[in-house]
Symmetry: C2
Subunit: 250 residues, 2 copies
């Protein structure tokens, strides 16, 4: 059950035993450094759905890696509306964008019950100094965060709503498959339509209509937040901007 996994994740203190080590982006290399690292990583915390991990404006003292559960980060855009900046899956680093300005620029919320690994910046930097390979990993993790953000911009560059949604779903599918290690035919969305719409820069109505169109076209099965990928090929096609009209057949 989920509770079992949660218990396991919470009890683990040592990074060397971490279930997520293989996919932990800031993964540490040498065993002895792992030990040292463990001493500094704070005890794992669990968060309930909707709970806030950190808040905009707080000084950054730690970075975070989700062990279980999807997170969202959102910021107050210049027009005063909330803007979802990203969704963060287990193993993905959070908070890095804050260290440029020393304070968090966004709020982070758990979308589901979650377990979080908190790494103090001081521990991160001393570990990086001691161990060039870890430093290298850290830089790579930063680069990956940047790449993710660029993907978000690319997503927003898709003009048509259905293309945007399709590209988003393909991305979610890939992430889920990377975590599961196998092909998936269904997607469970951790976020509601509101967060989804904000991330895609669309209204919830448009998102809902697009899902319905994909359903009517036989591409997707839609039951609330649970989606079934019925025609992977056509979904991929839409994500590439092929089928301008959602329901149009090839």
């Amino acid at each position: 059950m989920e509770t079992r996994l949660f218990q396991t994740l919470l009890e683990q203190r040592a990074c060397s035993d971490c279930v997520l080590k293989p996919m932990c982006k800031p993964a540490i290399v040498k065993p002895d450094e792992l030990e040292r690292m463990s001493d500094h990583v704070l005890p794992r915390r669990s968060l309930g759905a909707g709970e806030r991990l950190y808040a905009r404006g707080q000084p950054v003292r730690s970075l975070f890696v989700s062990q279980a559960g999807v997170f969202k980060t959102e910021t107050l855009a210049s027009d005063g509306k909330l803007q979802v900046l990203g969704f963060h899956f287990p193993g993905e680093l959070m908070g890095l964008e804050a260290i440029g300005g020393r304070r968090f620029r966004a709020d982070a919320f758990a979308l589901e019950p979650a377990v979080i690994c908190e790494i103090p910046l001081t521990a991160l930097e001393t570990a990086a100094s001691r161990q060039p390979e870890f430093q290298h990993h850290l830089l790579q993790a930063a680069g990956s965060c940047l790449a993710d953000q660029q993907d978000h911009v690319e997503l927003l560059a898709m003009r048509q709503a259905d293309e945007r949604v399709a590209l988003f779903l393909v991305g979610m599918l890939e992430r889920a498959e990377r975590l599961a290690g196998k092909e998936e035919a269904s997607i469970h969305l951790a976020m509601g339509r509101t967060d989804l719409a904000s991330y895609l820069c669309l209204t919830i109505e448009t998102v809902s209509r697009t899902f319905s169109a994909l359903r009517d076209a036989g591409i997707l099965g839609v039951q609330g937040r649970h989606l079934a990928v019925l025609d992977r090929q056509r979904l991929l096609g839409m994500a590439k901007g092929d089928a301008a009209k959602g329901a149009k057949r090839a």
Copy 2:
């Protein structure tokens, strides 16, 4: 003249003498490390307007900092169209998003005659290992890149074309003022309407019309790429999404 400055920038080999040191984001801290760093930084190159600095798919061996001249980075979006991801001013780090995947994900072009400082990754990492403060700076630079990308997303989240353009102009103004160290009343755009439109995810026609509307509203003076900020207050207001209608007075 510009040529004089170019000559100066090209002749400088030592980071310690660098004119841009105060604003070089990956600025190095201690003098002796500066010396060592200089030995590894490649001789500065100059690029003509439109010349390519690096290409998508190339393996990353160096990061780059513009010494003079604005650059653009653009990628091939999944729909096959070119998408401008960012504009990079002197002192800003380029290429970091590539190191996550070991290859450049974008092309970088000089928009004007430019001088570039090339820092091999190996030099970067050894310097960071030796000197914790430099490592800290490097991480901060990475964070700043990430923050810039988030700003881009925030920009794209502005629904109305005039709000997007206004927010972009405010950003350009701020960057120019940071470089100049004083308030500016005019903006010289290094990029053409096509790159601008791509960055803003609008068509060039819409960008052009928006500029015209801002001109007619008495907010902006427009002469091709040269803009005069006539009503700073109202421009800021639009960037915050206040005036939904561009020409509407307060």
